[in-house]
Amino acid sequence: MSYLMFTLLLLSLLCLLRVLIGPTIWDRILGFNLFSAIFILIILLYTVIEDQSYLIDVALVYSLLGFISIVFITRFLQKKGDI
């Protein structure tokens, strides 16, 4: 089970690579969105290993914050600065 978490960590680093490379800023937002989705899975796998059920609330709050941040970043970029 822990090696599954390790492979997910490698895959999330690949998403971060897209954030570094991405020619346009929209590729960077896409990479960040995927990175947060995969990181929620890493938190969930960690709750299975450690058998602590309070960590699911951490993953819940993190997915909500990730969604809110994506919404406002794209809104900010779409309106080119004046929301």
Binding site: L14, T24, W26, L30, L34, I38, L44, T47, I70
Partner: protein, 100 residues
């Protein structure tokens, strides 16, 4: 390894396969829109399979009840987030170059 743990492991490996396919699409295509459409596979299918695999792995309990709530919420939010990204890119004038 009981039956539901094996089923959970199978689901988790299928989810990881979906994530690998999404990541392959992320680097295969050149313009942003095909890249975004392929990589939304990670948000929906990869997340769904891995979390359902975790619920199967742990069996039915209060743990899996919270997990099901998280699955429902994230299945609602993740596609919406990728929709916002692509919509913002299109409306702000990001046009893909014509691929020959």
């Amino acid at each position: 390894m009981t039956a539901h743990e094996i089923a959970g492991m199978i689901f988790i490996t299928i989810g990881i396969l979906f994530i690998i396919i999404g990541l392959f699409g992320l680097y295969r295509y050149k313009n942003f829109y095909t890249r975004a459409s392929v990589s939304s596979l990670i948000d929906s299918a990869g997340f769904l399979f891995i979390s359902v695999g975790i619920v199967l792995y742990k069996g039915l309990s209060t743990f899996s009840l919270k997990m099901l709530f998280l699955i429902l919420l994230t299945l609602l939010l993740n596609p919406l987030a990728s929709h916002f990204t692509v919509r913002g890119a299109y409306l702000s004038g990001h046009r893909p170059r014509k691929e020959h």
